[in-house]
């Protein structure tokens, strides 16, 4: 077996927000009727957390993230993903669904610091105010030219999920948005 490697080898950067690519992350895509009891039960049981409301996530790790009205993203340890897929397939036998290990499809960055929110606000058209994106928010949006999801862990820590193919672009974006001296000071005094 070869060892999993991330897109950027775990890059880090200290700007006015700290940026760090995260280690390989287990990700399982689950599509199905999220309003149906069997799908809800299976997702919660396999993930070990409750099913999130729209545009929210539940649990830091493992976690369930709301992607769309018919799609959840389960975050777990990298080497647990295959077992989670098998567990979902088992729990959802006979129920229309799709469960897929997509761990290698994406890159994850953690952006932390008192001004982290401001660095992200420079890159996305989404309202990043504390009221619009409180902790627990999972907001899919655009960051500059690429789609991304913003996971608000707390008011000073955010995770950015994007496709692996644009990981370098995302890292460059985050670094440039957080260049020291470019603080805006809108939310943080």
């Amino acid at each position: 077996m070869s060892d999993p490697v991330t897109a950027l080898g775990g890059m880090t950067a200290d700007s006015f927000a700290d940026i760090a690519e995260q280690p390989p992350r287990g990700m399982v895509l689950l599509r199905g009727d999220l309003s149906s009891a069997p799908v809800q039960r299976a997702a919660a049981e396999v993930a070990g957390v409750t099913v999130p409301a729209p545009n929210r996530f539940e649990g830091e790790m493992p976690a369930l993230c709301w992607m769309a009205p018919d799609e959840l993203l389960l975050l777990c340890d990298y080497d647990e993903a295959a077992a989670k897929v098998a567990a979902l397939a088992e729990a959802l036998q006979g129920v229309h669904h799709l469960a897929l290990d997509v761990s290698d499809a994406r890159a994850v960055f953690r952006v932390t610091g008192l001004d982290a929110r401001e660095a992200l606000a420079k890159l996305t058209p989404a309202d990043m105010s504390p009221a619009a994106v409180p902790p627990g928010t999972f907001r899919r949006t655009r960051m500059a030219q690429v789609p991304a999801a913003i996971r608000a862990l707390d008011d000073t820590a955010f995770e950015i999920l994007c496709f692996r193919s644009v990981a370098q672009y995302m890292a460059d974006l985050l670094i440039s948005a957080a260049i020291p001296g470019s603080e805006v000071g809108y939310w943080q005094t």
Binding site: E71, P125, R140, T141, R142, A148
Partner: protein, 109 residues
């Protein structure tokens, strides 16, 4: 700047988060249709100054399609609604009527 509320996820999405899908409520004709009718289905589009119905996709968000009713002249948005309908629902028509009495779009009024 155009902001549309995606009815699938409830987010007020900036235009740059969305992908335009062209005119709404097109109905495919055929297979026994006349050439003229088929040409109309393929190519003839409304280009109104005022009330218009469009398809949009929340491309950089939840990824789902929806419909929007808006004014091409003022960019006023009358409402957004499910993609899974073939005609604008009554509450959308009422919202347009409140702002544009006597409006008409194709054969809808």
């Amino acid at each position: 700047m155009l902001i549309l509320r995606c009815p699938n996820c409830g987010i007020d999405a900036d235009e740059t988060e969305l992908a335009p899908g062209g005119e709404a409520h097109l109905r495919r004709v055929g297979p026994e249709a006349s050439d003229d009718a088929f040409e109309g289905y393929l190519f003839h589009r409304e280009n109104p100054r005022g009330v218009h119905f469009e398809r949009w996709r929340h491309a950089a968000g939840c990824g789902k399609w929806f419909h929007a009713a808006r004014c091409t002249q003022t960019l006023e948005v009358f409402g957004t609604y499910s993609a899974q309908v073939t005609d604008p629902p009554q509450d959308i028509r009422d919202a347009i009527t409140a702002r544009r009495p006597g409006w008409r779009w194709r054969d809808i009024e």
